[in-house]
């Protein structure tokens, strides 16, 4: 198996970098690249305590499969890819996304990691609601999936 993708419900499980490292390990690969995205304590001058992630589950999984397959076709067909994203309430410091790539060489490993991250942000229906120290909360703006030709 060369691909692992999942939406991880934060109330049931935490995303684990150890699990990711184990998955991508292979004697065929000379490079491993791991990106770990975490909830940070500040955004746009506001003090953040946590983020709630919402997702359209089926479409997210479909988009993850498509993005990872395209990344393999584009950069390294034999790459091993691990991609998990959090869904639910995640306090500051918790992992929100983890992308781990095992590839033949460093260039491909870095490129696949970056490609997946940028495409997830553009394609996967996931939303963030930030919670602040003053008790307020706010859904963050994002990238519209409405077909461009329809926007007047």
């Amino acid at each position: 198996m060369t691909l692992h993708i999942a939406l991880v419900k934060t109330e049931e499980e935490k995303i684990s970098s150890e699990k990711a490292k184990k998955f991508i390990t292979s004697e065929k690969n000379g490079a491993e690249s791991i990106f770990v995205g975490k909830v940070r304590n500040e955004n746009d001058g506001k003090k953040v305590t946590a983020v709630t992630y919402d997702a359209h589950d089926q479409t997210v999984i479909k988009s993850f499969e498509s993005i990872c397959q395209k990344a393999k076709n584009k950069f390294d067909k034999n790459a091993k890819i691990f991609l998990e994203h959090a869904k639910g309430y995640a306090p500051v410091g918790q992992i929100s996304i983890l992308i781990a790539v095992g590839a033949g060489h460093r260039d491909e490993a870095f490129k696949i990691c970056r490609y997946i991250l940028e495409e997830v942000k553009k394609q996967s229906p996931i939303w963030k609601k930030e919670h602040y120290t003053d008790g307020k909360e706010e859904w963050l703006p994002g990238h519209s999936l409405r077909p461009k030709k329809e926007v007047k």
Partner: protein
């Protein structure tokens, strides 16, 4: 006719439930749904940040595919509203 709008992201402000039942004229399409949604937001959620949502949202059919403005809605159909996304 009535449709069920399944709520995601910022659109969850529209209801405490996961879905919102919306009454529409027969043979309505997505464009009409956008108009009705604009009215709901201006009447009931004017203080929220949802003013642009009817323009910026995409909609997924029951097959989880993006549908365009001409897509004809059916009575009791379940449609997902997809506000602008931003994971990672």
């Amino acid at each position: 006719m009535k449709i069920q709008l399944r709520l995601y992201g910022s659109s969850k402000i529209l209801s405490d439930d996961d879905a919102l039942k919306i009454e529409l004229p027969n043979n309505s399409n997505i464009e009409k749904l956008r108009d009705v949604l604009s009215k709901i937001i201006s009447e009931k959620h004017s203080k929220s940040n949802l003013k642009n949502l009817p323009k910026t949202a995409a909609f997924f059919s029951e097959k989880n595919e993006v549908v365009n403005d001409n897509y004809k809605l059916k009575d009791k159909e379940s449609i997902s509203i997809i506000p602008p996304i931003g994971g990672g």
